[in-house]
Symmetry: none
Subunit: 219 residues, 4 copies
Amino acid sequence: MRVNLEARAAAAEQRKAQTRERLLEAAVAMIGEKGPDACSIEDFVAAAGVSRGTFYNYFPTAESLLHAVRLKIVASLTAVLDARLPKTMPACERLATRLHSYQVTVSRDAAWGWMMLRLDGSRLERTPALEASLDEMFRAGVAQGHFRNMDPAAARTLIFGTSRMLQRDVLMGLSDPAHGIEVIALLLTACGLPHDQAMDVSRRGAALAQEIQDAADAS
Amino acid sequence: MRVNLEARAAAAEQRKAQTRERLLEAAVAMIGEKGPDACSIEDFVAAAGVSRGTFYNYFPTAESLLHAVRLKIVASLTAVLDARLPKTMPACERLATRLHSYQVTVSRDAAWGWMMLRLDGSRLERTPALEASLDEMFRAGVAQGHFRNMDPAAARTLIFGTSRMLQRDVLMGLSDPAHGIEVIALLLTACGLPHDQAMDVSRRGAALAQEIQDAADAS
Amino acid sequence: MRVNLEARAAAAEQRKAQTRERLLEAAVAMIGEKGPDACSIEDFVAAAGVSRGTFYNYFPTAESLLHAVRLKIVASLTAVLDARLPKTMPACERLATRLHSYQVTVSRDAAWGWMMLRLDGSRLERTPALEASLDEMFRAGVAQGHFRNMDPAAARTLIFGTSRMLQRDVLMGLSDPAHGIEVIALLLTACGLPHDQAMDVSRRGAALAQEIQDAADAS
Amino acid sequence: MRVNLEARAAAAEQRKAQTRERLLEAAVAMIGEKGPDACSIEDFVAAAGVSRGTFYNYFPTAESLLHAVRLKIVASLTAVLDARLPKTMPACERLATRLHSYQVTVSRDAAWGWMMLRLDGSRLERTPALEASLDEMFRAGVAQGHFRNMDPAAARTLIFGTSRMLQRDVLMGLSDPAHGIEVIALLLTACGLPHDQAMDVSRRGAALAQEIQDAADAS
DNA sequence: TATGAATGAGAGTTCATTCAT
DNA sequence: CATGAATGAACTCTCATTCAT
């Protein structure tokens, strides 16, 4: 009996989690399509294939679903990349690789990319976890003598703003590979790297990001 | 009789233009208050003091009103500034001044700043007129030997993205004057100016922008 | 032109008043049928033959419609009767006639009667205007030596409570004419009239109420 | 084995009865709080601490739960009182005591009082068991020479209606003890008792009702 | 042209009810 | 029997849009 009840409860838990997951995935798709503001609860449930009422068993408002989507994404985003990059890699290369890697992900999954762009579009929100990790790379770059010593807040504004705008170029099909390489090289230049070195680092970062993505696809 | 009819027609024209103007101004106010997505036609007509039906004599949809608002604003923005800057000013200084000038305007009128930020929020749209004018400054800077010769598209991505993000910093109160100066200096650095010169130019641009704004306030 | 505009405005006013009236009448019918709590806005607009949205041009909530219905009814109720009864009539006769008259109205228009019963059913609310007019009749009856001198509050409780319950008997078809006459005679008895006189007065009141109603129907 | 099965069945019976009881008690509490119309099944099961589905094992609809609540209450009400009143008490005293006793209960537990008032609110329903017991008291009163011989239906209308209205006075805090005594004396007067005797009987009934309540509280 | 009453599609939300476990 | 996730009908309210005046 005991086992039976436990197994039953576990199965129920799993089914709940599945429904929740379907709602989250549907939200990613819908947000990418129409933007977060134009999405209605009706849209979400239709895309997820559940009934209107079911929505409210999982989220009290549409807003709270968007919030859950953000949390889920940010968590998955940093984890994947950090695991693949060698610890000894110089900060400027790490930064370039991460920025390129983000653009590769965006170009692979445009729906996801649009969603990310629009999710915080109207507020230009920045995720604290990402800011912290960016600051750390920046400090390391200064210590390694590659970056000029300056206010990290200025670097954040430059990098977040430019990266978002590059993402938009990619999604609109305005960006060939060379464009991305040049834009990210400009960021490194602004941070203090000589421009020709910056171009080299950006190129290597682009190649590495592609490689990582291909490896992930293969597995 | 002829005169009478003409006068009458002219008066009618003027009334029309006035009504349209009131709708545009009401829209600026409402968008700054609630954001473009939350504004209903009801909001616009109530703020403008005209009736529901009248709206449709001027704009077919709410969207088209927003579009008209953008056009009007961009036109006034560039006109004001170009008139004040000497033609002989080097392109890098001109660019710095324009970027600072925009931030000064934003910090003077936060409602307006929020409206601009949200108006094209989720699409990160760029106004063609601004792109063209930016390209021209960039070309001039290259010709004058201040900017590195590179793809103007990369510069656009860098400058538009960073400028928007800086605007957001200002609106959120996260930005002291030094922050703005440093961020814009980084843009100039990325474009090819040595960093210490870039800081000088950015500082002068900030001062000049402030001066222009004060002069405008005084008049 | 002036006349035209005024006439136009007046016509518009009248149409508005008609729509409002249709909603009020529909409300009377629906409340009588289902009770005020079970009535949805959907019910009201369907019964009135207007669209959902129109409702909100007239009343912000269903509650406010109910309120308007009450106001309208109470105003019409007292006015009609007072005009018909001679000023010199003794208070006990006036009271009997009014109570019978109310029951006659109820039996003529059951929907209206149910609505009145249910409108304040759950709260047993009493209309201040009616309380005041009842108090006055009671005082007059004491002065005329027909009623015992006692707390008017007790008389109010007795008369309102019994009258409502009699109304319910009538609506449920449990009441023949003799029942109503006896119940109202009991009220007069409780107020101090000897029982045989009370029966006479109640009988005369019933006849008079019927007469007044017939006259109203004829006109 | 046999014993085991029987014991098990008995235990199951008891659990069932307990769950049903918890639902009934939860219903009393919720109805007192929000009124019967505003109560959802969700409210009932949450207050009773059982699951949604369980509700339907005991009651087919929310309505039927309300009905069961009424029955339970009326049964307990009459049982308690009848046990305490001497059989030899004259009918008029018994009636006065019962009416006062009800008001005492109401003033002790306002939530319960509101629930009773609203439970049959808009229909002014009367419980057959109470009607029968009232008729019997009335017949006895006639036989004992205290009440006038008249249609019991008229007496029922008078007594039920007035008693409900008095209950409302009490719940709204509009009633001091003297008010209740006078109202119930008026009922007795209407039934045929001379008014001064009626006041005496009503006073004694009030005292006795209070006494019974105090005794119940003490035990 | 200006008006504003009327419209009805559609959004958010609640809740009685079902049913697999 | 108990559970609670899923369902979908019903409800309130908003708002873009139409149209007679």
